[in-house]
């Protein structure tokens, strides 16, 4: 199967994502420049981390208008699996593919450290190989990862089980101490209502081999290989069947 890694001017984790897909997992992977207008038959789309368009105006605000984003919207609407990592998550929020917005970290600092996140939902293409409640050790690297949505939106996310990852302690408890950036309800990652679009602030692609200090992130990539090879999330009808 084939991964498309979208490259915006200012993306800087595109190579890490490409490496994880191609070298660690042995899958096909192709870079897609943001000015292109085709995803070239990809089965999975990754919006990588970085500082797309310098993060001018707001994080992800300009990237949303890149020509390739029309194809990403179409791919997502048809049930295709899309993963937004860090800046890619911010792009998904600005593009309206996921609800909410990012504020500056409550520390006002750019934070670069390993954190613990709990997998709460396993019926998404990127957590299909996980166990519910599994705690992963994955690095974060961001200045604006303080997730915010209005209380009614957060309530809807909880009701629809769209909170996929939450910052927790080693015991899987979402304490304030475990929250690195002030995100509402310790939210680290979300999925869309259709469940095929997933965004998270931590960097699973930077935790795919023990040489990197943790290999816990690999399971997100293994999950999507499993989900796509089993036929889930490759077309809308099947995506709905799995979500149920």
């Amino acid at each position: 199967m084939k991964f498309a890694v979208v490259v915006f001017p200012g993306s800087n984790c595109d190579h890490d994502a490409h490496y994880a897909a191609q070298h660690v997992l042995g899958q096909q992977a192709e870079y897609i420049w943001h000015k292109e207008t085709s995803l070239k038959g990809a089965d999975v789309v990754i919006l990588p981390g970085g500082f797309a368009h310098g993060d001018y105006l707001r994080t992800g605000a300009i990237a949303r208008f890149s020509p390739i984003m029309a194809q990403v919207q179409k791919f997502a609407a048809s049930g295709g699996p899309v993963l937004g990592i860090c800046n890619g998550f911010q792009v998904l929020l600005e593009a309206g593919l996921l609800p909410g917005a990012m504020l500056r970290n409550r520390s006002l600092k750019y934070q670069c450290e390993h954190v613990l996140i709990k997998v709460e939902q396993t019926d998404t293409p990127f957590t299909a190989a996980c166990i519910t409640g599994q705690v992963l050790r994955i690095p974060i690297a961001h200045g604006e990862g303080n997730y915010y949505a209005e209380p009614d939106v957060v309530a809807r996310l909880e009701r629809n089980r769209q909170v996929v990852f939450r910052y927790t302690n080693a015991g899987g408890v979402a304490t304030d101490d475990a929250n690195p950036n002030g995100s509402v309800a310790n939210i680290a990652g979300l999925c869309s209502e259709q469940r095929n679009v997933v965004g998270l602030m931590p960097h699973p692609e930077r935790a795919c081999e023990m040489a990197l200090g943790s290999a816990d992130g690999l399971i997100l990539f293994e999950s999507v290989v499993k989900a796509v090879s089993e036929g889930a999330f490759s077309n809308p009808a099947k995506a709905v069947a799995v979500a149920r």
Binding site: L57, R58, A61, L93, E94, P99, G100, A101, L103, R104, N105, R106, S107, L108, N146, Y148, A149, E150, G182
Partner: protein
């Protein structure tokens, strides 16, 4: 015609930068400053015949790009309108 667009976080959204600036002002002894909200300021040069036209265009720009309605609100001033 010049439109000025002021974008700030909605009152319901916590502003960590504004809070830090408030604290710094308090440290300097400005205890009369009760709150600071930090935002963004844009000046748009717009070709328009009437102020309402410029205002309408600036509002569209603010809705679509300059602000994120999830967390921010905005206020517009048309320069020529103020003078006239």
């Amino acid at each position: 015609m010049r439109a000025r667009v002021f974008v700030t976080l909605k009152p319901s959204v916590f502003d960590p930068q504004g809070k830090t600036v408030t604290d710094a002002l308090h440290t300097l002894g400005y205890s009369a400053v009760k709150d600071v909200r930090q935002g963004k300021y844009f000046e748009l040069e717009i070709e328009a015949r009437r102020p309402e036209e410029a205002r309408k265009l600036a509002a569209e720009a603010a809705d679509k790009l300059l602000s994120n309605p999830v967390i921010e609100s905005y206020r517009i001033e048309i320069a020529d309108e103020v003078i006239a």
